[in-house]
Symmetry: C2
DNA sequence: TTCCGTATGTAACTAAGTCACCGAGGCGGG
DNA sequence: CCCGCCTCGGTGACTTAGTTACATACGGAA
């Protein structure tokens, strides 16, 4: 079986000198992870740097009381940079990464990763940029949790999860877990949204009927 | 005037080969920042990697409504790694860094930083470790804001700010800003603590009288 | 069709944040 | 010394968010 040329999936990697790309291709490992599998978490460290080819990873945190909050998602074409760096500095790491779908990824072993960082300016740029994006995102999360109202946050999340579709497949509990809130609160908010005619709520799904209204609520007011 | 040998202040840098250290010493800049100065923030990017020799930098975030939250502090002997990385990936960056005291720091210009990352494995280790620590810390902040009760968080913060002393010099407003809460809430909590005999509250200062009780409250219960 | 697990509804209560205002203390200018 | 002002803290009434403890409804498997 011919080794798939996955490097095409990462535009920034195209900038690398050909021999670097070759080294990457040769030294890294294609892995496939089933949906729902736990990729890393407290007491479980990935020993390599991950680049996602397909699927998404959800990075979340769980409190003692069982409440959860989603910190960010890693999509195809992105790297799990934050995580990896944390592991390289090996602090204990309390977030966990879950394969939200079946995931195909390239695993770059620690040594090769280190080597690439050392030799390729473009690769460094790639890694730092990914870092930067994640951290910026984390700051947003903190801002939202600390300062924004739950109705605005829920509206935002509904819009984000919907994308271009109008249908969102998620239970109230799952929505609560996205926001670090609890089911009852989300149920109440959704009922209020429904009462205003902004959404329709079926069992296990939400249908957006008034995107504009949600958007208005989402941007703060 | 002889150039001060600041490299002694950073044990990890002692591991570097002598010529690297020499390059660092020669290519970097000793800077001094007055108390209260804004070191970076939205629309203000530091063009170099900072290593703190003395003083502390407070990194915080401000909401539209004026509420604030302290994300972390950079102390002497530490680097402002997160920030710098963010800037290298140049995303817009909404946190700001304030010199909490007079600050002496070494500024490593971007090019030299990049060069050192490339050539020195020890330096990379140093930078990634610092990263890791910060990110781990950010995760803690998210967990606290999202899941912990304000009384427990306040107790924690009081203990942290006090260190070995019993006296904390801070107004209720400042304590609220530490936690991303508001003055009224903090006042109420402090009154309750005082009523229980755990603290004494003077104008602009708090004196801890029952450290043990605060500790108990701090670890969740 | 019945049963059972999951999803959602609801009410009463506590915790946290908001709003509006008050009063006390400290400090500088006259 | 007194006045006025400004910062700090206190308080009550109200809204929003989270907790506790149930009840009910849906939908697939037996």
């Amino acid at each position: 079986m011919r080794k798939e040329d996955w490097t095409k999936a990462f535009p920034p990697l195209q900038q690398l000198p050909p021999e670097t790309v070759e080294r990457l291709r040769a030294g890294s490992l294609l892995v496939e992870l089933p949906e729902g599998s736990r990729i890393f978490g407290p007491g479980q460290a990935p020993e390599s740097f991950l680049l996602l080819l397909a699927g998404t990873i959800r990075v979340q945190q769980t409190s003692e009381s069982g409440r959860e909050i989603v910190l960010y998602r890693v999509h195809a074409g992105e790297s799990c940079a934050l995580t990896t760096a944390c592991l390289m500095g090996y602090e204990e790491y309390q977030a966990e990464g879950i394969a939200e779908t079946k995931v195909r990824a390239v695993a770059i072993p620690r040594l090769l990763f280190d080597d690439l960082i050392a030799t390729s300016r473009a690769f460094r740029q790639f890694v730092f940029t990914a870092f930067s994006r994640r951290v910026t995102n984390l700051f947003r999360v903190i801002e939202e949790v600390a300062f924004e109202r739950i109705d605005a946050r829920l509206a935002q999340k509904l819009l984000a999860l919907a994308g271009n579709n109008a249908q969102i497949v998620a239970t109230h509990q799952e929505l609560a877990n996205e926001l670090g809130s609890v089911r009852e609160v989300i149920s109440r908010q959704l009922n209020e949204f429904a009462r205003r005619g902004w959404i329709k709520s079926l069992r296990g799904t939400v249908e957006i009927t008034e995107k504009a209204a949600l958007s208005r609520l989402a941007q703060h007011s």
